[in-house]
């Protein structure tokens, strides 16, 4: 049963609900967590709004991570995060298989480069077991060398975690949001929530586009979740951004690495990894820098230098390859080693804070957890119904690319015309994205939906043409 799609953007008024009623539930923040929650709520006959400050979904931390679908083998046993990562991994893997979100199960190796690290591996194996993960095992130096022939010299052994996978970070929130919106959730973009007036019957949210009233509020505002939370008179947590800078190497580097190469974690954090991406690139990163500016997503000379130094040790030949992108994301750290998900029944409010470095993996489990809390808070959610199935465009390098699909091109020659040569993106795919339920509004948004412009030439060949298509798309 498809509902009319309601997506509003800057300039549009917020819609008036029948009878002037407030929304039943409003979710603030359309990152991977907020979209997952909106999708979970879309199963229920409640009027839900998803409000997002940016002009696109997934435009905050969710667009700039390491894109690993974690097993949770190294989580703090017994924590909420450990449980939701473990459940989320299974849920998202299954969802991805059903919707066509690219996932590659490449496995991870935690490589020990010195005696101390080697000695730490058995404890990590035990931790994995404690987290209910039983497929990990120890490899000796020879096995490591055989698995990863291009590894730098000196690797002494590794812990193998065969189920660690890489996933498409952009298609995931896009699939959640698309399904939610098609099932009747209202998405309001360009709609920053400012002041909130909590009240027992309904809260009033001041937004850049007028007031919005809602009976229940879910705060999934990522880096800004603490600010929203304070408006309810709380002082439960403070988000301090922890920046992670990353370097993306060209696809021609892909054959250099087979697994996600994780460092053995230390007190200073998880450290710098080398990982394949589902797009066929190689990632190097992230750094971990404590900052106080929630907008500081710039890269720095020191950050890039540090990554190159670490990368040279792990995979020396990687440094000879061309770089296609450098970016940074901000983890929402709270100085507390767990998620800060808290329901406030008296306030008809749920805070979903501190979703630090595992939110992509845990998103669907977080959504189910929050939905259960919401029911406990007193909202009658009604009987869940199934959502219309969804098929996302396959952006994965190992999947069926349209430009290699003879049958598809025979039916529609637009899939035979390449527009972005480096990423092999066709006219047909770009057209589809521009006509989709949630069309891109910028070249960056188009890139997240199709990969166009993300390749090694970064627009030397196609940039102007892509911009022309976006401008064309926004006129019609």
């Amino acid at each position: 049963m498809t509902q009319p799609v309601t997506v509003t953007t800057a300039g549009d008024p917020l819609p008036e609900l029948p009878g002037g009623a407030p929304y039943d539930v409003t979710v603030i923040g359309a990152g991977v967590v907020g979209t997952a929650i909106a999708r979970a709520l879309a199963h229920h006959p409640v009027r839900t709004a998803l409000v997002e400050a940016s002009d696109d979904i997934g435009d905050g931390t969710s667009k700039a991570n390491t894109a690993i679908l974690h097993t949770g083998f190294d989580a703090v046993p017994g924590s909420l995060e450990a449980r939701l990562v473990r459940e989320g991994q299974r849920k998202l893997a299954a969802y991805a298989a059903g919707t066509g979100i690219p996932v590659e199960r490449v496995g991870a190796l935690l490589v020990a480069w010195d005696a101390g690290q080697l000695a730490a591996l058995p404890a990590l194996l035990a931790k994995a077991e404690a987290n209910g993960y039983h497929a990990a095992r120890l490899l000796d130096a020879d096995e490591v060398a055989e698995r990863e022939p291009h590894l730098g010299p000196g690797a002494l052994g590794a812990l193998e975690v065969p189920d660690e996978s890489v996933i498409c970070p952009w298609t995931t929130p896009l699939a959640f949001a698309t399904q939610a919106v098609r099932a009747g959730v209202h998405l309001h973009l360009d709609c920053r929530v400012g002041r909130i007036e909590p009240a027992p019957d309904h809260h009033t949210l001041t937004t850049g586009r007028g007031p919005l009233r809602t009976r229940y509020l879910i705060n999934a505002a990522g880096l800004h979740a603490d600010e929203i939370d304070r408006q309810f008179g709380h002082d439960h947590f403070t988000v301090t951004p922890r920046r992670g800078q990353l370097i993306v190497f060209d696809k021609l580097a892909r054959d250099l690495v087979r697994h996600i190469l994780l460092p053995v974690p230390t007190a200073a954090g998880k450290g710098v990894l080398v990982a394949p991406t589902v797009f066929g690139n190689v990632l190097l990163g992230p750094t971990a820098e404590e900052l106080d500016d929630k907008t500081a997503t710039e890269s720095t000379q020191e950050g890039i230098a540090l990554l190159r130094e670490k990368g040279r040790r792990i995979l020396p030949r990687l440094l000879d390859e061309e770089v296609t992108a450098v970016y940074a994301g901000l983890r929402a750290a709270t100085g507390h080693e767990d998620y800060r998900i808290q329901a406030h029944p008296g306030l008809n409010y749920i805070a979903v804070g501190g979703i630090r470095s595992t939110g992509l993996t845990a998103s669907m489990a977080i959504a189910d957890h929050v939905t259960a809390l919401l029911a406990d808070t007193g909202l009658a959610l009604g009987t869940p119904v199934a959502l219309e199935p969804l098929t996302m465009p396959g952006l994965g390098e190992t999947g069926e690319r349209p430009c290699l699909d003879a049958g598809l091109i025979a039916r529609d020659p637009a899939y035979g015309t390449l527009v972005c040569h480096c990423e092999r993106v066709t006219e047909g795919e770009i057209r589809d994205a521009l006509r989709s339920t949630l069309p891109p509004r910028s070249v960056a948004g188009l890139a997240r939906r199709t990969r166009a412009g993300n390749g090694r030439c970064q627009g030397f060949s196609c940039g102007a043409g892509l911009r022309a298509r976006i401008e064309e798309g926004s006129r019609t």
Binding site: S299, T417, G459
Partner: protein, 409 residues
Amino acid sequence: MTRRERSVDVLVVGAGPAGLGAAAALAASGVRRVEVLEREQTAGGIPRHCHHKGFGSRRTSGGISGPEYARRSAAAATGAGAVLRTGITVTGWAGPRILDTTGPGGLERITARTVVLATGARERPRSARLVPGTRPAGVYTTGELQQAVHLHHQHIGSRAVIVGDEPVADAAAGTLRAAGVEVVARVTDRPPVRPAALEPLHSAPLLTRTAVTALTGRPRLTGVAVRHEDGRTTTLPCDTVVFTGDWIPEHELARRAGLPLDAGTRGPAHDAAYRTGEPGVFAVGNVLHGVESAGTAAAEGRALAVPVLRHLATGDWPADRPAVAVAAPLEWITPNLIGPGDDRPLGDRFILRTGRSLTAPLLVVRQDGVELHRRRLLRPARPGRPFHLPAGWLDRADPHGGTVHVSLD
């Protein structure tokens, strides 16, 4: 699998000046089935969007515009009997000299007796140069800028900084001016090549020995942070920045075929007959060496006719050939393999690049400890510009010997 399978005598990948030059010469010299594949909708390569004059007969009349040059090059190839197909991308190899293509008409698998790679070069973008900072709108390479202005008539901005001081930086400045954008500064990390008094009139200030350290602004660029060699730093306010030069050959197909690359050029290693490391696969133009003039690329293409005809007739292909290698500050040399026989490079000279300015450099060529050549060049050599080493010593090189080393003495 429903690929249409076909075969041709010569398959040229890329319809830029080099590929079109090769196709015209090959078809004119009697090769029957010469086919050129071009992934863009229009043939001509880079000159399609270089709207300034300076193509073709540069010395006499100032030359023709890039688009006109592109049209004439395409007409010359088809006029000679080559088949030119645009909107067709070569996506990979199905075997030696067997290429897979995608086009609106479907998928093909084309077997060629000879393959010519003429895929050109591109400028390294901001990310590949590891310039940190925010990721704002308003960041271009010259290639993207020219297409935005000349092919799509897009709005660019109002104040631009140009990074680079090679001829292509002048082309970028011209394009910006044509788009009504003020060039507020040009920046290069290299030392000046001429006294400030000799800088062209009306051109924006040129900051030499100055590195770009960061981009600032979001969502739109607001400034380019720079640092002078002596430590002074400043931020140049602007809404547009163009990264020019810093070429990298479009070598994806070459690498996917496993062709050995030259460490300096990053293009396929090749000899004076444009033979690569893979039998039957030739390469010409900028895929070999980053950017030379269109005239050089076209001349390389035309020079291909003789060796291709010879290969079609005999099937011969040299096995191991000694490499020609340069030592710093020299960056690269082309050709960079010594072939057997008496093939001479274009114009009977090698092309080189240097990383820093050299006044009257003394070039020495050695192989296996034997000095083959020693010569002082009369002109200065500058970064980003070609200079030449006469090929007279080639007869003295041993085609079965070790690497030939070219260095400064």
